[in-house]
Amino acid sequence: MRKKFSWLILVAMILTLLPVGVTAAPPQQDGGTAYTIQADDWLSKLADKEYGDPLAYPAIVYYTNLKAAADDSFNEIDNPDLVEVGWVIYLPSNDEATAFLTDTGSVAGGTFIFGRGGDSVQLDPAIVTDGESFRVTGQCLEPLYQYEPGSTKPIPALATKCTANENSTEWTCALRQGVKFHDGTPFNADAVLFNFDRWKFTDNPYHFASQVFEYYEYMWFGFDDDSIISSVEKVDDYTVKFVLKEPLAPFLANLAMDIFAISSPAAIEKYGENYGLPEAGCVGTGPFKFVEWVEGDHITVAANKDYWGGPPTIDEIVFRVIPDDSARFLALKSGDIHGLEQATAEDIAAAEADPNLYVKARPALNTAYLAFHYKIKELQDPNVRKAIAHAINRQGLTKNFFGAYGEVATNFLPPLVWGHNEAIPGWTYDPELSKKLLADAGYPDGLSEVTIAEDIMDAEGNVVYKAGDKMPLKLYYLPITRFYHPSPKEIGEAQAADLTRAGINVQLELAGDWPTYLGLRRNGLLVGLYQLGWGGDNGDPDNFLNYFFGGLSSADAVKEPDPREGFYANQEVARLLYQAAINPDQAERQAIYEKVEQLLYDDTARLWMAHNNTPLLFSKKISGYVPQPVGADYFEGVVIAK
């Protein structure tokens, strides 16, 4: 089928070389047919069926929209990824499709330019934590597992299958054969061992003293002998075995993180400490090869024609840095870039109204919340916490400030993560109920002053708040917008206004800039209610719940109140989370997480606000872009119409 279409492309290429007059506008003779969209239809599938090539679908879009302009019985296609059952579209004849593709040039190929707010820090993913680095390294490097496009499910990548032994302490991974790194060296068990040894052993010659490897330490519980991975062994050239000290349920989810993508050992040996810097870039097995990095300006990667999964449709991706949100949007409007992430609410609305642009939301793997400080006597009473939860109009806030892309949160886990408990209804907005709950708790006249229950100390051990001190109830708002939390100040004001209606008076507080805020939170010094949130690292529920409410090192360990979490401690929750973390059975784990969510909800441990599906803006020339909830986005299927 593919062959049949390749002559069309050849003709198209020859014709584009001819003088302009020859390649006139596509002839509009009829010959195609009207077609009604059925369930499970999508345009590239139809194009494949009709013309033998899925990439011919822009011809369907073009002719359908042409028809729709003149004839109401046809539907207009705004977004090639979104056609609905029952729509009437026009399938052009083979001649018409050829004529269209001839005129527009081949649909395959081209340079996709993506605009972003900041530059990558480094292109060695093992030593960075920022999304802008992973956005690029995710194109040239691949881990053993990866996340299924559009989801958080780990699926094989450089490994073809990893299987665990009975008690999940040993994972044996079969590696994909015949894969080569971009520098021509082979990918095999030695390459996997080289990378894991480099990350794990602090005395490894390539574990440079200047580099931190913070995510290895964080996901695998430390370096050297501390690491939960006691060894990575080579079974044969294409099989490796991971031996764990104890079972680790999210093993595959961890393995799939961009951080643990496999780099070419030869490249690391060649560039040493400079691997990942502009002179070296990233050298892996991915669908795109690193080309150049002009710092603060752009990074270019080019299609890897020898990619084991088949070459990507586009020739090149350019990641351009345009720090100013408005300027970046103007660049999209002017056609300087084809897509962008991070836009103001006004620009998102403008993009929705613009006939040349469309918005695509990244599925939310994040949760914005309002936390309670548990060394405040009043907040130790679950009725007071519940009163606060029912006082805030979360539906209204989400609609007004998160826009069409926000969802009201009922759980800490976003709906796309398994373990999310559907049965939890979420707190209703009910100021009268709040007042009643407050009265029941002994505050019939409302609440505006609170009492410190125990001494609160700073990192040096100095008492900052003394037990018995009275102070106004504060609501700390985030000093910056985070991907999970737009307009923190405005949301804080709305939260405060809602609370006032239920008789709870809070004092809005700006506690310094972002690093200051993080520092205060870490030391348990945001004494009151405070805004924060979380974005998942690997799509596993453990990465949400255990990090915040668990962290036990054994089943019978005691959960100590953690200053970082406002001194919240729930022994039962922590114990359950420990059980889930070492249980290899996903169904059993799911039941545990659902139970944990229920316990946290019943306790009103924290007020879950919303999940933010962050919008990405694109030119209508672009289709096939898959935003990922976790990990780097997939660019392999991007098609640029001329």
Partner: protein, 350 residues
Amino acid sequence: MTRYLLQRLISLIPTLLGVTVVIFLLLRLIPGDPAVAMLGEHAAQENVERIRAQFGLNRPLFLDPAALENNDFAGFFDSQYLRFLYRLGQGDLGNSIHRRIPIADELKQRFPATVELSLFAMALAVAIGIPAGIVSAARRNSIWDGISMVGSLIGVSMPIFWLGLMLIMLFAVLLNWFPIGGRLDHDTKLTVITNFFLIDSLITANLPALWDTLKHLIMPAIALATIPMAIIARMTRSSMLEVLHADYIRTAHAKGLSERAVLIQHALKNAFLPVITIIGLQTGILLAGAILTETIFAWPGIGKWVYDAILGRDYPVVQGGTFLIALVFVLVNLLVDLSYAYLDPRIHYD
């Protein structure tokens, strides 16, 4: 003259030393920890401690009296500030905490970008500001005077972020004359030698790159030039007006010199002292203050870089970047002082 120059250069040492203390101290007065800033919501205790140790952030700021009690003299002096100063003395600005690479490497790219933009903007400001000031002074209260003075008032009052976005809107989005931002199109090839793209494209005789560089420079340079242009125009005008009333101008007129000769040779040269002082100061301000322009026009210079480093508490980057800006500021003003002797023969430096 040589002696004066030497004196001035020596006096730079305490100035710059003072600069290092101020930069170093002010930076650490802001609460917030680089390791926490780097790790964000994730910051686990062990991670933070290890990163702090790795970058010497667990050392005392100036001296360590505790080490002295153990007779550890090296430890006594092993402080964050002295480490910084010691490295600086060796010409090493240190490594970025976030990127873990030498700051000098990044400055090599970013500083020329800022200098190129600032000098181009300053050239624009001088080329328009001085003639406008002269015309206003010579034709005082004329329509030209009105236009240039109202124009310069608007120039001073216009916020750069607004002007920048308007320029982009008009010339890049609607008219499509200039690119939206950056220094060079991603597909323009240029062999980089000095990192000044105008110079690089000239010495490699790369005309497409030269044209592309100019196209990228023009809008940010206009946005950056408006304020100094207006200040220079107003300063030139008032300084010229003062000089035009002097006796020697009347004498020059009496000698029968042409209006042009009087204005340029006699009046302007004497009116130039305050103007050149302003140009010097403004050049320094442009170098240090191009943050907004660099942000809006995606210009990969040092302004935005240092600003982000402050937000991320990347101490070495802020220290290195600010020190370099301070150094250039001081040197530009030294040049201005030296130019006085040329402009006004009555001034001698011995």
